[in-house]
Symmetry: C2
Subunit: 387 residues, 2 copies
Amino acid sequence: MDPTIDIAIEHTHVRFADGLTLECGTHLPSLTLAYRTYGRLNEARSNAILVCHALTGDQYVAERHPLTGKPGWWELVVGPGRPIDTERFFVICSNVLGGCMGSTGPRSVRDDAAGDGSALWGIDFPPITIGDMVRAQKKLVDYLGIRRLFAVVGGSMGGMQVLQWAASYPDAVFAAVPIAAAAHHSAQNIAFHEVGRQAIFADPDWQGGRYWQSGRVPARGLAVARMAAHITYLSEKALTRKFGRRQRPGEAAAGSGFPFFGDIFEVESYLRHQGSTFVKRFDANSYLTITRAMDYFDLAADYNGDLAAAFRHSQTRFCLVSFSSDWLFPTAESRAIAQALNRAGANVSFVEIKTDKGHDAFLLDEPDFHRTLAGFLAGCREHAGLL
Amino acid sequence: MDPTIDIAIEHTHVRFADGLTLECGTHLPSLTLAYRTYGRLNEARSNAILVCHALTGDQYVAERHPLTGKPGWWELVVGPGRPIDTERFFVICSNVLGGCMGSTGPRSVRDDAAGDGSALWGIDFPPITIGDMVRAQKKLVDYLGIRRLFAVVGGSMGGMQVLQWAASYPDAVFAAVPIAAAAHHSAQNIAFHEVGRQAIFADPDWQGGRYWQSGRVPARGLAVARMAAHITYLSEKALTRKFGRRQRPGEAAAGSGFPFFGDIFEVESYLRHQGSTFVKRFDANSYLTITRAMDYFDLAADYNGDLAAAFRHSQTRFCLVSFSSDWLFPTAESRAIAQALNRAGANVSFVEIKTDKGHDAFLLDEPDFHRTLAGFLAGCREHAGLL
């Protein structure tokens, strides 16, 4: 991997010279957010939808990715005639704080007093939280002159941001759609993240997080982290349906006996491919930073353990979506949020989509999910008087 | 880790000078099986129970482990007055072929034509199968003069061996107890194993599998493999109950802000401990060899896809045990085996134990499981006329 590849790409961005003070107490002297928009903002500035991306996502929601050349990650959901219809809505998505696609993060030049103006933050980038990500996004939304978002929508870590938005800025969120999300990261979720982090730390090319200086990136460790995480994004059924115990044709016959450590089962080949493509677009220190932010997320903890208190007096309309085969953020987590919203007297609908595709279902072709989202947004449009 | 530590330990063993021809076609010139026995073989040689260990287990079932100093891994189940009562039964357990506690495996001296009589097999150890493990065990059982085992019992990979025993040597198995097992490894199981293998391969100390020559072992990669696997041995509920989101006292306050990459959540500290202790007792090449053997296990495939055919005309009495919160070898897998046994007209009972402890429940204090096992063995004793 050429470590300069994606730094050379110019991402659309805005720089806030006043920076951002983080929850950990550190002040970032400046804040850059890379973002993309789709559709047109109406005159009343009332048709904006903020899309929040997941752990390894970015701002290229509905267009070809400039680095990978692949379609946008949510083209099934965002675009003309799609559930988030860019002919009606003005859609915004920014690369999260701590990310590696143009927003301030470990891959940015360190611009605090300790920085010499040329080195990158790297491992010295301060710890961030989901709350920090959302406060950074709020600056972008303010900058765009939008006082109230018609909706905030996101899946997985994106859903955590949606919940944080609704809690922190209730008056700025007309509708909120947290998808395949949870109000906190579970012990099992933290455990899987920790395996990924340890895999990165174990790679000698990680070099204590200063790999940028040598130009060798911890690609093997990051690939293992991605592989472990990727299993959690799919259901057991989906893996069985896609791969079962099928072996790669020709492989089993090669060599003497069976080639025990080659690409024999298709699922192995698939996972290795997931790992090796991921390291071409993602920064290991960003992975460490963002997984930590997810692990720390515990919205109720900010309200003395009472999740309902986070949404007291909220006028936001909520639509919670979970997927029946998602074992990373299972339906029970969304149900707990729905119950808290009910206790808070909030306006909430909650839909579990039946699917065997697991956590990743929010990114896939799931007609029931798309109909649910489109229907909810149509209803909200009516209530908001948005024609 | 001092790589000589456990090679220096003398394990009770038997050496078969005629070796073993493996399913892959390779002939091992000699076969050593390290084993332990507990209790006394009766005159009729009819009271022997073979215990088969899991992936990372060994022959030290019911006594202090000579390397780790810890109690035997199944002292809750095997011992005087325990479900497998050593006052009634003669219990045998051997380290599996491919293992690293004294049986022939990657850590043994290579004794084929290509070996120079001093080098270890290491990565050149041939691929093995569960069937190979069982044929090796059969030689041990024959050597001990036992024509029919009263029972073969094992959990997880041990349960795979039980199934293979019943299929390969129906007349030599009066009763069979596969616990938390499956008749094949699923795509998800293979995927988790592959993550572990890739973590080992990614460790530069693995050195293409010839780490023994340098004395540096791939401890970091093997620890990551163990961490990933360990998550799958526990249920989400068990992790939440044991650790939740608790942080280690004092850690969160240390340093400036929060120490984002330290041991903050208890579950992380626990996993790291699991990883670091494991590498002191286990060999990375054995891990690769045995995980592969598990991945390859597909009993029905040996019978044209018909699992029932594996047990046709079997007189063996089966007791299948699964655990409700086991997501690695879920109840559905045991149920599929029970259905195949029913189709084969075999004598089968099937019990799902309600527990939130996950796959590892077979190793833990589960009174319902212990009662089930003791009760089944008591019934079989009667049927066998074993007083």
